[in-house]
Symmetry: C2
Subunit: 231 residues, 2 copies
Amino acid sequence: MRTRPIPEATVARLPVYFRSLLDLAESTGATTVSSEELARTCGVNAAKVRKDLSYLGSYGTRGVGYDVEYLLYQISRELGLTQDWPVALVGAGNLGRALASYKGFAERGFSIAAIFDIEDDVVGNEVGGMTVRHLDELKDVVAEDGVSIGIIAVPPLAAQEVAERLVDAGVKSILNFAPSVVKVPPNVTVRKVDLSIELQILSFYQQRTQAIATAREANRRLRLQAPKKPL
Amino acid sequence: MRTRPIPEATVARLPVYFRSLLDLAESTGATTVSSEELARTCGVNAAKVRKDLSYLGSYGTRGVGYDVEYLLYQISRELGLTQDWPVALVGAGNLGRALASYKGFAERGFSIAAIFDIEDDVVGNEVGGMTVRHLDELKDVVAEDGVSIGIIAVPPLAAQEVAERLVDAGVKSILNFAPSVVKVPPNVTVRKVDLSIELQILSFYQQRTQAIATAREANRRLRLQAPKKPL
DNA sequence: TGGAGCTTGTGAGAAGTTTCACAAGCTCGG
DNA sequence: CCGAGCTTGTGAAACTTCTCACAAGCTCCA
């Protein structure tokens, strides 16, 4: 059926198109959209939109554009959004609690099956309308509820162990919020979201574009503190 | 001084190397590290590590490896981590509060200068040891504290307006957590972190690797509900 | 029915990124 | 001082992603 595999870069953009199409359908009520228009709302190049969508199939009409409803359906099917994905959330700290109450997940069919933690004073607490369970129950919940996606929201030192327990329980996809690299078997997919790394990348480009004079000045000062390269 | 600009892909990895080097220095106390070893802890290819580091300069020693301290200093200088970056956090909802108490930012020199919101019942509250201020004070705070980085943690519909107010106040780099595309002038950098998009990407690959039989079955069922492509 | 005006789908080339493979160069022991 | 054993730095090839430019094909109106 599918001729070529869909490039990773395209997969990463499909959710953006999806959301823009939803907004479009809701706010303007338009039934059809051109690649130009979709590109504008997504902040990308129109040719890129067309090429991306062409990987899904030939769903547009020349001279007219794409039918919004039909395209929405095709993208959601491709992304697997036509079914519900129960998610296991591990870690009920600051971030875990915020994620538990985050509405955006449920909107796309990702429901939190259960929240886990390991601290005695956290297990049993109410978070986002659910009771925090002990991590030891993970395997049972995963099996019972058919969980295939796990979210790691624990301190960095605990992340690798949690990842292993998720894999052991049968989870095949992991979203890692802990600022650490986790290693998993090749049949498991991990994506990481690292808040501090994003700021560091911004800092790089920020520094780059600061006034030349200021940068030169700062560099001179910094060089004085620089450790010597060992001989 | 710099011959070639550092590729974006490399910039995105420097913070990962940086963290691994810190861990390494702390846990093993090693003074030197090979590209092979660093690559292992970062989950990347050794040649990539060497090429990435070579953009910073020739900081290694053949037959020996890289001096950990020296490399740490060079990366932190490149990323602009030798100075402190005050950050304006807009949005004191679930996510905003979690970000406000997130330790990882301060560890890398990103200090929250102030938290802003617009809701009367939120402004004035205590969050992470700070008092939430009204968004109208943004401009003053940015000017006074020399803020150049802003974080958007507000509902999607408010994101564009907040972005404009940040830009207007003089912020040059924005980290956007709202699930929406924000448009800014070309001299401003935006990076987005979209939690739901990450799950949708996982969902795509998850679906792909599920048992063929199951997928076929599901597809057959789904096709029945598919809207017809308009003629 | 035919032609003007759009818009898609895509080949081809450009640009960016990853990986390979190996010369250059360091250390250390004998 | 020399050669064995490492490890870096980097051209070059392979691969991926982006962008351009235009033929193919649709709609609508006269």
